[in-house]
Amino acid sequence: MDLSVVILVEMLYAVASLVLISSGLAVVFGMMKVINLAHGEFMMMGGYVTITAVGLGVNIFVAMLIIAPLVVGLIGLVVERLVIRHLYGRLVDTMLATWGLSLLFIGLATMIFGNTTTGISTPIPGFTVGNYQINGYNFFIIVVAVVLVIAMLVVLKSTRLGLIARGTMQRPDMAAALGYSPDRIYMATFFCGSALSGLAGAVLAPLVGLVPTSGGAYIAKAFITVIAGGPSLVAGLISSASLFGVVNQVFTFAISPVFGEVALLVSAVILLRLLPQGVTAKFFKGKM
């Protein structure tokens, strides 16, 4: 009984962390059809911002939830202005340019922070379930992911801003005719996407040792989750994250962490072969 609670928590945590690491990429891809391969490095920078801020004496939650997203969002803004905006509509070129950016950021981080593993301790104590101890921080990650998903739904569905954003993504010419500058909206969207990546990186930082190349561990998973999710932003994210998270944890518990990872990847290949447009192209058509 206790064990099943532990496994359930680990599964929820796996799903939540997939949602977190994919959300930034999902926003940018879902809204702008830009695949940001520097997404992992945005997360890495979120982690470094958090560690630096905590080192300067800032409260860890302020650093994770406010400073890191803001700083990384601003970096994203600069990137959008300098590089991405010249490449809208050229999917493959943006992938290549952002891949270049990712290498660039890895190099920069190596020069600034060195290649040594750094990290901070988790701010939340352990948790007891019957005879078992669980990492209390898992619950924090789950809560952040849930809040994030709800916030995304609310912003996109019920606010004027979300309406304008969605409209621009579908028909930029009409939005422009109605007086909304698509250029501005793309910029704002990229800012939000980068901030989400920064947030994810910051929130996950206490769990893992951070090195400049940490981003690489996330990008493939995030990429797979977003693509497998398909055209609908939030529903796609949740459905594919749940599927992969559960598959991963089942095999991790049954065999080993490596098999968990491999099972996740294999299920992605099978899924894409069966549903080449992603999960939501078939099941949640037209939903957000």
Binding site: L91, D93, G100, L104, M111, A220
Partner: protein, 345 residues
């Protein structure tokens, strides 16, 4: 048809011989060998991407597979001829299966990218976790993270004691690259090659004309994989060790950068891009002022923004404007092909 092909072949051969003869005067043959191997690897992606429109994010998978197949087979056979042949055939066979799965499934550009990337990751994760004694193929331990060191390196066929290494190995690699280059040139001149170009330009049109798109793409994909596998086997011989790092995403990324910088839709572009950038990386590796990765990243970004066609086409068109002679004719198509992703996100 026969005329220009023979003439081009002869010119290629002459230029290649001069280059192969001159290059060791400038750079040590040990370094040159790896530049040639990378050139061949770049060429393999340049073929399927530049002439077939297949953007493969996992070319490193075939490279690594070739290297591992060679190492495993060399340990088991104790000589190098069959391992070299297997190192070409196994990646090609693997690519046939993978390609058939993808192309008959009518996957779009991005999805193709994801699948090839995921397959590379799976291979990496698998090979990386085979350190235990239970992972054995014949006499060869897979070794996991350690990789496989100490296998039989290239020998004169039929005589396992006569190793080919050093300068001789450089000439072998260079000759193989020239042979592969000429074979691919012949392939592109054949009807298969021209239909492949047609598919790259407009898939729907070609399928309405009655061509089996999926089959042709699959075969082209497998040919690219065979070349990458050969490069992998040569790499294994050069480094005398194979490690899971061969399958890494970083390796795949580099291959793509070589093609972009060199110039897609040309044959020499990816080769020169690979050799040039690998040499640049080698030179940069000897200084510690600026991080290597940073420079590679910067190069890629700048090229995508300012010179998306790559160096070779740019130089060719410069040549055209300054000398008025007819340059390589297909270069301008590279840009068009790469932007096919526009419609289907």
């Amino acid at each position: 048809m026969q005329g220009p092909w023979a003439k081009e072949g002869a010119v290629t051969l002459a230029v290649a011989v001069v280059l192969i003869w001159l290059a060791p005067l400038m750079i040590s043959t040990y370094t040159l060998t790896i530049l040639i191997i990378y050139g061949m690897l770049g060429f393999s992606l340049g073929l399927i991407w530049g002439f077939g429109g297949i953007l493969c994010f996992g070319q490193a998978a075939f490279f690594g597979l070739g290297a591992y197949v060679y190492a495993i087979a060399a340990i088991n056979f104790g000589e190098s001829t069959w391992p070299m042949i297997l190192a070409v055939l196994v990646p090609a066979g693997f690519a046939l299966l993978l390609g058939a799965m993808m192309f008959y499934g009518r996957l779009g550009d991005v999805y193709l990218g994801v699948i090839t990337l995921v397959v590379t990751l799976i291979l990496f994760k698998f090979i990386n976790s085979t350190a235990g004694p239970q992972y054995v193929i014949g006499k060869a331990r897979l070794g996991g993270f350690n990789g496989i060191p100490g296998f039989q390196t290239l020998n004169v066929p039929g005589n396992p004691e006569a190793y080919i290494w050093g300068d001789a190995y450089y000439y072998v690699c260079a000759a193989l690259l020239v042979i592969v280059y000429l074979l691919v040139t012949a392939l592109l001149r054949s009807s298969f090659g021209r239909i492949a170009l047609g598919i790259r330009e407009n898939e729907v049109r070609m399928s309405l004309m009655g061509y089996d798109i999926a089959a042709r793409k699959t075969v082209l994909f497998a040919i690219g994989a065979a070349i990458a596998g050969l490069a992998g086997a040569l790499f294994a011989n050069w480094g005398e060790i194979v490690t899971p790092g061969l399958f890494s995403l970083g390796q795949s990324a580099e291959i793509i950068i070589w093609c972009i910088v060199g110039g897609l839709g040309t044959r020499v572009g990816p080769i020169l891009g690979a050799a040039g950038l690998a040499y640049l990386k080698f030179m940069l590796g000897q200084q510690s002022l600026i991080d290597n990765t940073l420079i590679m990243g910067l190069i890629l970004v700048l090229f995508v923004l300012f010179l998306p066609k790559g160096v070779v086409p740019a130089v060719a068109s410069l040549w055209k404007t300054s000398f008025g002679r007819r340059p390589f004719s297909r270069v301008h198509q590279a840009r068009r092909m790469r932007n096919r992703g526009r419609g289907n996100g």
